[in-house]
């Protein structure tokens, strides 16, 4: 008897091996986001060794951040086509190689290439696949799982910063980079944890899958003929890419993408300009550093508690609105910031902003998963993080230019606040429009109900109403072209 290759499709386990996936994703966020933030601790050493000024050395951090976000779609493509495990392990090896080569650097340009581009690429291959994997394993407890997984960046920065300082004191920056390269190799361990899982949803569109698969088989058969293979390869690639990225045409996703652009523009300057602003209003250096630590710690608390909170029964179906609320509150905090001119006022600001910053970071993957579904989550997350890259790169210099020309921080903070509020308002508006359309259609559907109800008794009548239903469905479709049963 021929063996049947059964791919066992399940529903998300919401536990079990899922918690190992969460642990793996937690470690991935530590090794990528926290290590990126700790690279700035090396700057003083690079400045004295290479005798360059701060602006030249700060480029390393910008390059890593930018490359990590820009290549996020590449990461999701690799993990979709090869496998999540292979993708993350490859990323871990690349990032580790970047650090190890960086420890032998003889000039700042070498560091740009090794520590900047190579490590950033490695991180990009790990970050979005790991986050997407958590979404696959969790359904009901998704927000809590993401909260725990994303808190890795805050906790990691908290723990790694003194450790990196200690390493630099013991082994100087070369030895510290080498050992950090070994630490980053733990990404391979995280990769090994990411066991693949096939979900029921993956078989939602069997037709397109079948078309792609047959094309792949044809490709293997006609491999001797080189010209044909090129054509086949191109069509196959187009077909596969088309299928993977069809969520880009969804109106919901486009709205989310635009709002993410504005939100990313707004959130990044605060971490750069809070300390200079605090110093300009008369807060001492130590107190300003204390404000930043509060921001970091409350960020972690916001991650975990908001994830837990939005999993409660009352808020379970309102992830979208919670996300809106968190982004809006952050924007509101920004608008209040120019009025806060002393330390007792800045501490509650730090707490509030940090909490909601952690909150919306937890909810980004949840909201994306709700819009595109779990199959395309990996690619969608890749695109969402890609959209973070350009605002992250562009926003702090623009804020800096505003501060220099106007002479105060008010204009920069107001711009960021309005950007974030616009992002949240846009999402709320889109949801409102969608709801209005739904109620309109429901209203029209209700009007035709009485006729159907007469015919719903008995099996014979059922078939009659079904015919009528079909006819009505057709008529409804012709009357309102935008109608689609959701």
């Amino acid at each position: 008897m021929a063996k049947v290759n059964r791919t066992r499709s399940t529903s998300p386990p919401d536990g079990g091996w899922g918690w190992m996936i969460v642990a793996g994703c937690f470690l991935v966020t530590i090794c990528t986001r926290a290590v990126t933030r700790c690279i700035s601790i090396f700057f003083v050493e690079f400045q004295t060794y290479f005798t360059q000024d701060y602006a030249q050395t700060a480029w390393i951090h910008s390059i890593v951040d930018c490359v990590t976000m820009l290549c996020a779609p590449l990461g999701s493509v690799v993990s979709n086509h090869l496998s999540c495990q292979v993708g993350i392990m490859l990323g871990g090896l690349l990032a580790s190689t970047g650090f190890i080569l960086g420890s032998f650097a003889t000039s700042l340009k070498h560091l740009y290439l090794t520590l900047g581009v190579l490590t950033g690429l490695g991180f990009a291959l790990c970050y979005s696949p790991a986050i997407a994997m958590v979404g696959k394993y969790f359904n009901r407890r998704k927000a809590l799982a993401y909260g725990i997984a994303m808190s890795g960046s805050g906790i990691g920065t908290f723990i790694l910063a003194p450790v990196v300082q200690l390493l630099i004191e013991q082994f100087s920056w070369r030895g510290a980079l080498l050992i950090l390269g070994g630490f980053v190799l733990n990404l391979c361990v995280c990769g090994a944890l990411m066991r693949p899982i096939t979900l029921k949803e993956d078989h939602a569109t069997p037709e397109q899958n079948y078309v792609c698969r047959t094309q792949k088989e044809d490709l293997k058969r006609v491999s001797p003929y080189s010209s044909l293979t090129k054509e086949w390869a191109q069509t196959c690639l187009c077909c596969c890419l088309q299928q993977e990225y069809r969520f880009l045409l969804m109106s919901d996703f486009v709205v989310l993408a635009i709002s993410v652009l504005f939100m990313a523009y707004g959130c990044s300057p605060l971490f750069v300009y809070l300390v200079p602003y605090a110093l300009s209003v008369g807060v001492s250096h130590q107190q300003a550093a204390f404000l930043m630590s509060i921001l970091g710690v409350i960020d972690i608390i916001g991650n975990i508690t908001f994830g837990w909170l939005t999993n409660r029964r009352c808020l379970k179906n309102y992830h979208y609105i919670c996300y809106l609320f968190a982004v809006g509150m952050d924007g509101f905090c920004y608008l209040c910031l120019p009025m806060l001119q002393s330390l007792p006022l800045l501490v509650p600001f730090s707490c509030t902003f940090g909490y909601f910053d952690g909150a919306y970071v937890t909810l980004i993957p949840v909201v994306t998963a709700e819009i595109v579904g779990t199959t395309s989550l990996s690619s969608a997350l890749g695109v969402v993080y890609f959209l973070h890259a350009v605002p992250y790169l562009v926003s702090p210099p623009i804020a800096g230019w505003l501060v220099d020309t106007t002479g105060s921080y008010t204009a920069a903070f107001l711009l960021c606040g309005f950007s974030m509020i616009f992002s949240s308002v846009l999402l709320g508006f889109a949801r409102l429009v969608k709801r209005m359309r739904k109620t309109q259609l429901q209203f029209i559907a209700k009007e035709s109900d009485p006729k159907l109800q007469l015919w719903t008794n008995g099996a014979v009548a059922y078939s009659v109403t079904r015919e009528l239903d079909q006819k009505h469905g057709e008529s409804v479709a012709t009357a309102m072209p935008g109608y689609s049963p959701t």
């Binding site: 004295t48 070994g182 190799l185 361990v189 090994a192």
Partner: protein, 396 residues
């Protein structure tokens, strides 16, 4: 000396042959006239001091010239020392002050030699320092002053007491040696002011200058003069064999005349020579020096000293250099790599094991289902349907 009235002090000192202090009628000038105070100060500076006292301000150098000039003015007959001093003081009071205080108008002109000497020292900056003491001060008050170049110094101590101001004995000391002259005392209300003016020109004149107020208890105020200090780093600088490193010595707010580097591996200090391939000294800014060492070897480790030379002394900074070999960070690195490889191997093996188990259980279940179907063939269709359904639900 303690407990005596100023008048007695004056007489006693003259009898001993030491430099006479300020004449009594000039010691307590009218309230509010700073010029009077100034005049007496200058007078005090111009008075002769014994040559044996090396730590005293440069009075001795001035006095022979002043004496000669005065004798020249007064005629061939050398007047008595006391009369000379009196005349000198009168002339000094007539002279206008050299600093901020208002000058008294006087018909007298100052002797030319005195002018010249004062002009030499008027190029230096004037430093004013004050200490306040009360009768209830429990601890001696200290003030630290950093000086890098020669300057004129004016030290003022004020003492507030409820008791009798005349009963207070005022003295000045430098490093436990008594200073006899050149200081003045002034009383305003319940506060006693004493002022000491001098010029610091070389490192021997640096040290601690103290004012003492003796009532029942002795109250002390100290001014400590030091050259600017170089702050060395507490933590050692780490580098590797074959690498290059930069040692920096910086002086905040001061400009040394010269920098030198020394290396000590053990106890002997060896000056660092400028060998072209090995050491490069870079002094782009006057207040910092950078020593770049290339091609490091293990022997290059140890203590490095940077010495800053000032007009008034020297200051040293210390940097510790540790040279490691590349094997030192490689050990933790390989430990972490070994841990990663081990964990990855364990996790992948676990995964394969659980997959095998699942496959076996799958195959087992398939086999069971096939067997059941075969056995059910004989039964009716109705029995099959519910059983199949049950199998399907358990199979998933």
């Amino acid at each position: 000396m303690e407990g005596r009235a100023p008048r007695d002090r004056l007489r006693g000192v003259v009898q001993d042959g030491r430099a006479p202090p300020i004449p009594p009628f000039l010691q307590r000038p009218v309230r509010g006239t700073g010029s009077g105070l100034r005049a007496t100060g200058e007078c005090a500076q111009g008075l002769p001091a014994p040559a044996s006292r090396g730590s005293s301000p440069p009075g001795p150098r001035r006095t022979p010239g002043a004496m000669r000039a005065l004798s020249g003015l007064l005629g061939a007959r050398a007047p008595t020392p006391r009369l000379l001093l009196l005349l000198q003081c009168l002339l000094a009071t007539a002279r206008p002050g050299s600093a901020d205080d208002s000058a008294p108008d006087s018909p007298f002109t100052s002797p030319p030699v005195r002018e010249e000497m004062l002009e030499k020292y008027s190029n230096f900056s004037l430093e004013n320092h004050n200490i306040s003491l009360t009768e209830h001060s429990s601890m001696p008050v200290e003030k630290n002053i950093t000086l890098e170049r020669a300057s004129n110094i004016k030290l003022t101590c004020q003492f507030t007491t409820s008791g009798d101001l005349n009963a207070v004995n005022v003295t000045w000391k430098k490093d436990d040696e008594l200073l006899e002259n050149n200081y003045l005392v002034n009383a305003t209300g319940s506060t006693l002011y004493t002022q000491y003016r001098f010029t610091i020109m070389n490192s021997k004149q640096m040290g601690s200058y103290s004012c003492f107020f003796q009532e029942e208890k002795e109250q002390k105020g100290t001014f400590n003069f030091k050259v600017p200090e170089l702050h060395g780093k507490n933590k050692p600088l780490i580098s590797y064999v074959g690498d290059s490193t930069v040692l920096t010595c910086k002086c905040q707010n001061c400009v040394p005349l010269n920098w030198t580097w020394y290396h000590s591996n053990g106890s002997v200090q060896v000056p660092v020579g400028v060998q072209m391939n090995k050491y490069v000294i870079n002094e782009t800014y006057a207040n910092e020096t950078k020593l770049k060492i290339k091609q490091l070897l293990e022997e290059d480790g140890g203590s490095y000293w940077c010495r800053a030379l000032f007009q008034l002394g020297e200051s040293e900074g210390h940097i510790e250099l540790v040279v490691l070999s590349y094997l030192v960070p490689l050990k933790p690195f390989f430990a972490i790599v070994a841990e990663v490889v081990l964990l990855v191997a364990i996790i992948l093996l676990c995964e394969k094991y659980t997959q095998k188990n699942k496959k076996h259980s799958d195959e087992g279940r398939e086999f069971e289902q096939i067997e059941q179907l075969k056995s059910d063939d004989s039964n009716g269709i109705e029995n099959n349907v519910p059983r199949l359904r049950k199998n399907e639900s358990t199979g998933q």
